[in-house]
Symmetry: C2
Subunit: 384 residues, 2 copies
């Protein structure tokens, strides 16, 4: 035996149930900690996030260009990590900042707060935001809760919980709005992953032949499940990519808009969307779709931002983020032409085995400029 | 935020507690499944193990060159995985084989058994061996339970449990014996990892300066904990390596011998050993230690093997295994000469956060040929 904790190809793919596709069980807190929160207890991981200049600049500007939201106010930072957003809130003039962190990173946050002479303002509380209690309601909830394609990690659930329990009726959310985007793309990743898959299968057939000839066991019956496993890994699992804007071959479309002040868990547990995108490049190949998000810091209607700030993770020549984009590939790319219309149906729901991972069902109907239907397909992807 | 399920550098390092070094909690079965067993539910992982020819040949020969132990007998395979050992046992003439597997890999094992026309002999049972019940005691327990440096994964606990509950008093263990080995080595890995560590720290200092100048937060207080985290990762974590025998610079020593018929959990929960090794190479550098294991298939005294088989994971020019060796490096290698004597004290215990991972404490006293003491050190390592 030999298990790999540090993740073989799929070693990190953790399942809370027997993996047999049973109905979703209630979240086991200990399992959730072991699978999810523990990642955030490492400084190298905090450093990765703190090194993302697009992310940092957006939050920094959102806070310091909107000091009126912070000056003399109470703030709650959900998932403070190293404590950076709590510290900025205090530096922008907050009277009191509650910085909640589930992992032992809380100790480091506390040290950082003290070293920056803000321990009289920032109070670091170790615990899940669902479990802790505050002595007062707050004027601002600030949080950096976004995962790949916005909703992976399902951390916004915790922000909703914090908002419903601790935000004053007049309170402001930082960020205040969020959007998910989808666009058709070209990418040689599709061919590469198809090659990887084919290679894995060729390798399997050699392996199977060898086991038969050397060890007298016929492995053929496992060929199909092995192919399914490999297909899920190489083809169906969304891939991190830093797309170039030139890889986008049609109009990007918004598949979800969210007002952080009013959003509910049920509206993000399953995201359903029907949108259309028009190919705007001559004779190209539809190799798949890119998914990303942006968030806005607009304050609230009655108490707007003085300076509206946006954090976008869209493909960009200069401004890549650690989130990149999620790419959903087609193992057999499709030739398309300018003006072709894609009707896209997207259903994104949470994985039954792990509520922080996602399943995406994509329906696509392609029509020519003339309106003549050309081709349609339906694919399932996994955001792991 | 962005968590990495597929393991960033240390993403897979999972903790069952808050990571704050609290005392070891009782094992949470769901957490254990999510962290450990799930790895074994992937066919690609089974394929990796089935492709290890040294491993396969040893078990294959152990079974088929000792058919007297299997012919007409009842067998229990603990952690059958794909079912290969159970199938071989049946092919070698077993009357009945119970093949126990905790993960959904049990379904694939069942299919494989059927495809090889052995479903009248091999019964696949999905469950932990601690939880299941058999209708009879067995003549043979066969299992491939070995982890890195033998004991990582702590799977032998399950074999002991199975043995004490289900093995007949006259029963035989496959394998029957096991040994852990340690040897001084030279390796440029020590320098490389030291460089990696230095690079990570240089990177941290740049990062820290930037955060200060761009974002007004002083990160200095986190420099020490970051260094500790990185040291643990780069220097103190044992590394997988396929050592060349020429890298061994002193006599390999046995730090633990185990009779699988009588071994107890308490004797493997903590392994303590004092051994000595003599440098047998002229003017060289002690860069660390290599740890590996071997197991023997000898039957039992009253019912010995007809053909004794050994499976070794020692450094070899030709016969590497998927286990390789575990390397414990010294970040500052020490010059040693032929005849220098190393007194080695080893204590290997289980990680408080995860009983399947190990902590190794190594004490080393170096004496010259003349007996004159030269240097001594004490290091802690982690087998993750």
């Amino acid at each position: 035996m030999r298990s790999s904790y540090n993740g073989g190809a799929m070693g990190g793919r953790a399942a809370g149930t027997d993996g047999g596709g049973r109905a979703s069980a209630p979240v086991d807190k200990e399992v959730d900690y072991a699978q999810y929160f523990c990642t955030y207890s490492f400084l190298y991981h905090q450093k990765d996030m703190l090194s993302d200049r697009v992310r940092m600049d957006a939050y920094f500007n959102a806070v310091f260009e909107n000091k009126h939201h912070f000056s003399g106010k109470t703030v709650l930072d959900v998932g403070t990590g190293s404590g950076i957003l709590a510290i900025w809130s205090a530096q922008a003039g907050a009277r009191k900042v509650y910085a909640v962190e589930a992992t032992s990173m809380a100790d480091h946050a506390r040290a950082l707060v003290k070293a920056n002479n803000l321990e009289h303002i920032v109070e670091v509380i170790q615990g899940s935001v669902e479990d802790i209690s505050l002595p007062e309601k707050v004027d601002v909830i600030i949080s950096e809760w976004m995962g790949y394609f916005l909703l992976r990690e399902s951390m916004f659930d915790s922000v909703i919980c914090a908002r419903d329990r601790w935000l004053k009726p007049t309170g402001v959310m930082y960020p205040s709005h969020a959007r998910m985007w989808l666009a058709p793309i070209k990418s040689n990743m599709a061919d590469r992953k198809k090659n990887d898959f084919d290679g894995a299968m060729a390798d399997w057939h050699n392996f199977s032949d060898e086991i038969k000839s050397y060890y007298g066991v016929d492995m053929d019956v496992l060929t199909k499940p092995f192919a399914e496993e490999q297909e899920k890994y190489y083809i169906q699992t969304a891939m991190w990519n830093d797309l170039n804007p030139q890889q986008i071959i049609g109009t990007p479309t918004i598949v979800k808009e969210m007002d952080c002040l009013t959003a509910t868990v049920s509206e993000i547990e399953e995201v359903r969307s029907n949108v259309s995108s028009v190919i705007n490049v001559e004779n190209t190949r539809l190799c798949g779709f890119g998914g990303w998000f942006d968030v806005q810091f607009l304050g609230r209607k009655e108490d707007p931002a003085q300076q509206e700030i946006e954090l976008t993770t869209a493909p960009s020549e200069q401004h890549c983020t650690h989130w990149g984009q999620q790419v959903f590939i087609l193992s057999s790319p499709i030739n398309v032409g300018e003006g072709d219309n894609l009707n896209l149906g997207l259903v994104m729901s949470r994985s039954k085995e792990n509520h922080r991972l996602m399943e995406v069902e994509l329906n696509c109907e392609i029509k020519e400029v003339s309106g003549k239907p050309r081709e349609s397909f339906k694919k399932t992807y996994f955001i792991e």
